[in-house]
Subunit: 339 residues, 4 copies
């Protein structure tokens, strides 16, 4: 349920509405737009029902609207303005497109420093890198774990780049949040609800990746679990859905970008590295994602892709990444944004 | 790597091979067939390599074979004979097809007792029911949690039916294993590797459901995580993959049954309730699953489907379940099995 | 629109309703059930609208019902009873399950005669074989064309088995119908509407295969094109949909069987050979199809699969086909049908 | 098989190779690059084999290479340079991106003239419009047929825009080619091989749409049917594949663009109107397609989308199309192309 204030409603009128909502045991989320304020009402649906009539009669209230979508807090109806997620000194969801780049896995001090220096020099806004690695086979390299987190933090000290890295389990969230600037939830864990809830209680922004067979409604409801715990700093990430086409590893569903931007206020990020699985197709799909309206990109960059311990075939070299950044800038400018 | 013994090899020859493997710091898994014994070698691949030549020269050894599949312990090459999983007094993977039935969620004492009595009377071998419920929306009923586990245990006391129920997170495995006979890992958690590892350390059989966009190789590698921790009592469950056809909720991929039976020694169970999402199609698909060679069925039965707190539309009433059991028996007999 | 007569309505009352419908320039399709008669009204929707009120007042009429589905003539509402399609001496859609077997392509006189003799001896009801072959590559064997039709006709003379074979284009329908007993429309042509219309004007039953990405509604609407031209002798065939699982060529969607049986009166046939693409999985999926309620099977059998000019890997040898027939009989009996 | 000439090979050396190939009863396709010439050899594979050794010894020949892909004539190996398809005064496949716009169906003289004037004014290069319409239901509007073709020709006279329109059946190709500049083959007919062959014999360029479940290899082999009849003027069109996401009608697979550009020399066009099924998402996906490297766009524009006889929900108004063209220009410029 949202309360739409009249265009000229004053601050004290907004406050009176908020007080009335809180008195009923509910919470609020306030969106201040250019012309008017919208107050989202958070809490038990039955209480809302009772409160509704009283709110409609409160001065300054134009109308009270029920949210019909199954997802509430993440919906554009609930928060009409774009959410901007602060990631260290960067912001995701505004005019500037945030490029998050780095290796699939942190492998060594040398590797992560080389990668961080390289992506920083090329203009990345955020450093990505995996310390806990979800791997299809138990016999594959599983990540450096806490040592990897420490190396990421060291790379941040050196470059100033904020860090995004994955937590694979609720029990890892606190640890990851201690070292990283953004907690990533991977595609395989998109519906790991215990993990989602824990991320909702973390004091860090969350990057939530879409599962390979998740509908957009399922993705939004997964994000709803996080917001429902009080954490509104969530980014959604399209990273390819399961398809039948052998030429790419997944089918990158770029139409998810405009559809999500319409349904939700949360920023939308695209991962063309996992989405295609081949470095050769990363650049065209990154350009396409920006043209489609993505707020950020997640790109795998490795100082030596041929010898990467994971995802080498889809990683760009530092040189190729720099070339991609150069080609992204005019496309971003062409749609009125910047990198 | 497996060691295939000669048809006439004696027990002491087998023991000599085992001793040699253990001396190299590796472990073994022994399959005794009618005509010969096969010894699976478990452990570090590099050590195996060194050991191989010496094993090939050991008396009684016919040949040593590397396993080329990415999955090892779950493969038919590693264990040629069908694995039988003991579930309380029942067994899954032998001539008798195990029907596991019960409500989606445990909702109340009355409900689970009525369901347990009903499915027992109709001939079910195992009682299913959810205490921890993974739900797409945070606003849906999330299960009775430990109280639900207690009620399931009570229903077992009453009916003698062993119980299968889901653990949604590694932290819940120990609790679930305390009350239940089988720990279920749901489709959304098929690649939750922290959970898989914890289930591999549990002293309970595991029912692992296929994710809706998982390939069979991914399913087998997920099972490999469990076996790799030492727990070989694993059942695989086909429950429908994501499709484009609006008439069913998922597309039940019954060809997974013969393909899995060929690739792995683990028993294969089919869940036609989730696979179709509509009670009307549960019976024909259950019959088809048995005809295709499934070792078990997982079927949602609710004493009052119209008022179920979850998955009502796909639940059979107790009466319909009894009718299904009656129609399953001749089909099982027709392929040389029984219920 | 259908007119449901009262249980006791007499023949002359039915005739009066039919006369009234024909007087309005529309046509009828009469279904005589055990307890009552249902009259389907075929023709322009606007005329129906006008006629409706008058029909509702006609003696013996219980009610007049609009058909809400987008497909009309193929729907169960329009014809409540199962349609039986006569294929030479065989019938598809009754208690007896029709097995249609033979090679993918007619390759030579020797080959088709050996196949026909083999499948006849094993109990097949219909001989299948391609003369015009739709092949993915222009460089693959494209079929013997009219010579292939002649050989099929010769095999029919010899064995008494009616023949089903594909027409790839509207221009071939007349020729195929001259030689064959059933005109097959392949999966790639399911939405070739010029071909569908031509098949609707043929004096032969039609076997319509589902396209690999067709929804069941699209399949039913494709069949509607045929019925709409006056040919009600149509069989639908599930032959696998596009999936992501590399272990089979397509994903055989057996849930299509009960869903279609509910939505339409037309018989439903399953093709496990194309559906799996591997001979090894044909038998279990054939058994499953029968258990799920299929009215017929379409199975590729080749006297020498290893040297087949097309689809060898999915073809059964004559011996394996005979073994399959033997295993199908008890399953058919178990569900109250026969082969 | 291709013959790669040495960098300095002279014209007479090329001619000698061609003569030798023709003497063997085979044909050639010559690609003259900046630094060297490549001669594709067309014809029977066994003859090629014999010829190979002799060609390798011919002066000026650097090497003879077999084409390993299942598709030959369409492959980049066979013709290394981009093919440019001439469409009236326009060209598809060069630096200029060709926008083909117009209504789904030609409905009336007024409608097609208004659409043609509108898209011409906004800068479209080609007029699209359907005269023969493949419709899922036999009860939907099926197109004006030859009258529609006449109206399209009239719109061309008036605006100078060349016309692309669909032939649904081999029997329509000659008629369509008489009126139109490009013969379109629709997604449902992508594997209608009789139609593909007939289009291969037409003296018009062909626009071939990808079927909704076709792999890129199947699309390329379908194009191979056309080239194999001698018509090399073929454009490929991505128009969305079957997916599971209800928010768009199909899943537009933009990664097909860079993959196809790598595998084939043929130009690649994207249809974001069918690909999304909703006018609201046409503009972002059109921008993304251009950024991904598409050589052309196919866009549905209707003077009055709300009253369109087909595909209204996915059609842009003339005003929205003009706005899209304005936003496309800077994106095209950003990647070094123009509209």
């Amino acid at each position: 349920m949202i309360v739409v204030m009249e265009p000229g409603a004053g601050e004290e009128q907004v406050q009176a509405v908020v007080d009335r909502i809180k008195a009923a045991g509910l919470n609020t989320h306030i969106s201040v737009g250019v012309s008017r304020t919208v107050i989202g009402v958070v809490g038990d649906d039955r209480t809302k029902h009772v409160l509704r009539e009283s709110l409609e009669r409160t001065p300054g209230v134009e109308r009270v609207v029920a949210i019909l979508q199954p997802f509430k807090l993440v919906s554009r109806e609930f928060i009409p303005l774009d959410t901007t997620v602060a990631v260290g000194p960067a912001a995701v969801g505004g005019a500037r497109i945030a490029v998050m780049a780095g290796p699939c896995s942190v492998e060594s001090r040398e590797q992560i420093i080389a990668a961080a220096d390289g992506v920083k020099a090329a203009g990345a806004a955020v450093l990505r890198g995996g310390a806990f690695k979800p791997r299809t086979s138990p016999y594959s390299f599983q990540g450096l774990e806490e040592e990897g987190l420490r190396l990421l933090a060291e790379a941040r000290e050196r470059t100033g780049l904020p860090v995004v890295t994955e937590a694979m389990d609720a029990s890892q969230v606190e640890l990851v949040a201690r070292y990283a600037d953004v907690v990533q939830i991977g595609a395989r864990n998109m519906q790991n609800y215990v993990l989602l809830r824990e991320a909702g209680r973390a004091k860090r922004p969350v990057l939530l990746k879409r599962g390979p067979s998740a509908t957009l409604e399922e993705l939004l409801l997964a994000a709803e679990y996080i917001l429902n715990e009080g954490n509104y700093q969530v980014m959604l990430c399209e990273r390819g859905i399961r398809g039948f086409n052998g030429h790419t590893r997944y089918t990158l569903d770029l139409s998810a970008v405009p559809v999500l931007k319409r349904l939700t206020h949360l920023p939308v990020v695209v991962d063309p590295s996992h989405g295609t699985g081949k470095w050769r197709y990363v650049a065209p799909m990154a350009l396409a994602a920006v043209a489609a309206g993505a707020d950020g990109l997640l790109i795998e960059v490795h100082p030596d892709p041929a010898n990467a311990l994971s995802d080498g075939p889809q990683s760009l070299s530092v040189e190729n990444f720099a070339a991609l950044m150069a080609s992204l800038r005019p496309v971003a400018a062409a749609i009125g944004r910047e990198l």
